[in-house]
């Protein structure tokens, strides 16, 4: 006879069979003191279990965070570069923060132009004693002027004047002293390299470089005496 045992009957039979049982009969009654070795092993087991369970989620979070950070940086970059005042501020900040450690490239923008008609040459009211002119080039057709001075002790300096759109001056500040200030309403950069001390003055109309193997103070005094 093929008998079918229903689930309901099985449940009733199992409850009847197992309800009153006591599986602890025959087992020792005393408490077991678990070993330290066991506890150490458990630490490893649980740590491993934690790592296995958690290892995937952080990767997902990492990727999500990375993508979000990149998206935010991209948005900020686009915004900063698109708005001229922000862009200028950004470049100023970069120059300020990294002035002592970076190779600063000063390149006049083409939007800055000589607003006055004609190329006017600056006159310098102060030239250090014992220096005399050794060379002068007035290339007014290309808006360029330079004058070189020297003394009898192999000290010399050169003044170059040109338009901002023609200027492309690299001021190396990586290993050298670098300063930024204002002289006669013109922005000024000063730096020193292995050969010369260099001072660059600029505004929207002109760029003037004064460089030579003379002290910084003398360069500044020369710059302060510049007049159109």
């Amino acid at each position: 006879m093929d008998k079918y045992i229903s689930e309901r009957l099985m449940k009733a039979a199992c409850i009847s069979a197992f309800r009153t049982e006591d599986l602890s009969i025959g087992l020792p009654a005393e408490k077991h003191t678990f070993s330290k070795k066991f506890q150490r092993k458990m630490k490893r087991v649980i740590r491993k279990a934690d790592q296995t369970a958690a290892s995937y989620i952080p990767m997902v979070r990492w990727k999500a965070v990375l993508i979000m950070v990149l998206a935010v940086l991209l948005s900020i970059s686009i915004t900063v570069m698109a708005v001229e005042p922000l862009r200028e501020g950004f470049f100023r900040m970069i120059r300020s923060v990294f002035s002592d450690h970076t190779e600063l490239s000063f390149e006049a923008e083409s939007s800055i132009s000589n607003t006055k008609e004609g190329f006017q040459i600056f006159q310098f009211g102060y030239i250090p004693k014992e220096f005399h002119v050794v060379d002068e080039q007035n290339l007014s057709e290309v808006d360029f002027y330079s004058i070189s001075y020297s003394d009898d002790s192999e000290h010399s300096f050169e003044i170059i004047q040109l338009l901002p759109q023609d200027a492309n001056l690299n001021i190396g500040s990586k290993d050298n002293k670098y300063e930024e200030f204002v002289i006669n309403d013109m922005n000024a950069y000063y730096n020193e390299d292995q050969v010369n001390n260099n001072l660059v003055l600029y505004n929207d109309e002109y760029v003037i470089t004064i460089s030579g193997n003379i002290p910084k103070e003398e360069l500044i005094n020369i710059a302060k005496s510049a007049k159109l």
């Binding site: 008998k3 045992i5 229903s6 099985m10 009733a12 199992c14 409850i15 309800r19 006591d22 649980i46």
Partner: protein, 182 residues
């Protein structure tokens, strides 16, 4: 060690529940595993594995009935110990790919009365221990095959087979009993 277990549990209620189970039954679980393995070190490992399994289905464990909870924890640790012993002895258990009977296909004469339930309960106690354990977890504790699989560390298909084999054996025993009793 309890702190590590508790770190895996989120809610304070669940932590309290687990704490109670842990302190109440860890020793009896150890003894039941040690009775199978006769090795305290291995038995402790079994206890640890059992608690990790319990954490996974903590919500489904009724800890209010102490006897029932104690028997459950003993069943878990004992079965895990048996699994461990089989693996340790490299006993190759060839799990026969038996054809799964359709449990509700042709329910010819159903045995559905209290008298037969009582007779069946006596026959259940005559089944091999492991089959009894599966039926206990399935019908007395109302766990699914998946939950039983998690608790005693056997594959779900194996649990299903053991349950079906137990019921098949019970049918045979019932038939033999009817023949004997006319």
């Amino acid at each position: 060690m309890l702190a590590f277990y508790l770190s895996l549990i989120d809610s304070p209620e669940a932590r309290t529940k687990f704490e109670n189970i842990y302190y109440s039954y860890r020793s009896v679980m150890f003894h039941s595993a040690n009775q199978v393995l006769h090795n305290a070190h291995d038995a402790e490992d079994i206890v640890a594995d059992s608690f990790l399994a319990v954490i996974n289905i903590l919500d489904a464990i009724d800890s209010t009935d102490e006897d029932k909870a104690r028997n459950l924890m003993i069943t878990i640790s004992k079965n895990r110990a048996l699994n461990f012993l089989k693996k340790k002895k490299r006993a190759v258990l060839i799990e026969e790919e038996i054809e799964m009977p359709q449990e509700c296909d042709h329910p010819s004469p159903a045995i559905d009365n209290l008298e037969l339930a009582d007779a069946l309960s006596k026959l259940i106690r005559q089944l091999p221990s492991e089959q009894q354990d599966v039926l206990r977890l399935q019908y007395y504790y109302d766990y699914s095959y998946q939950q039983i699989s998690q608790l005693i560390g056997k594959r779900e298909a194996t649990i299903r087979q053991m349950s079906l084999r137990a019921k098949k054996k019970l049918r045979q025993m019932l038939e033999e009993r009817e023949i004997q009793h006319g």
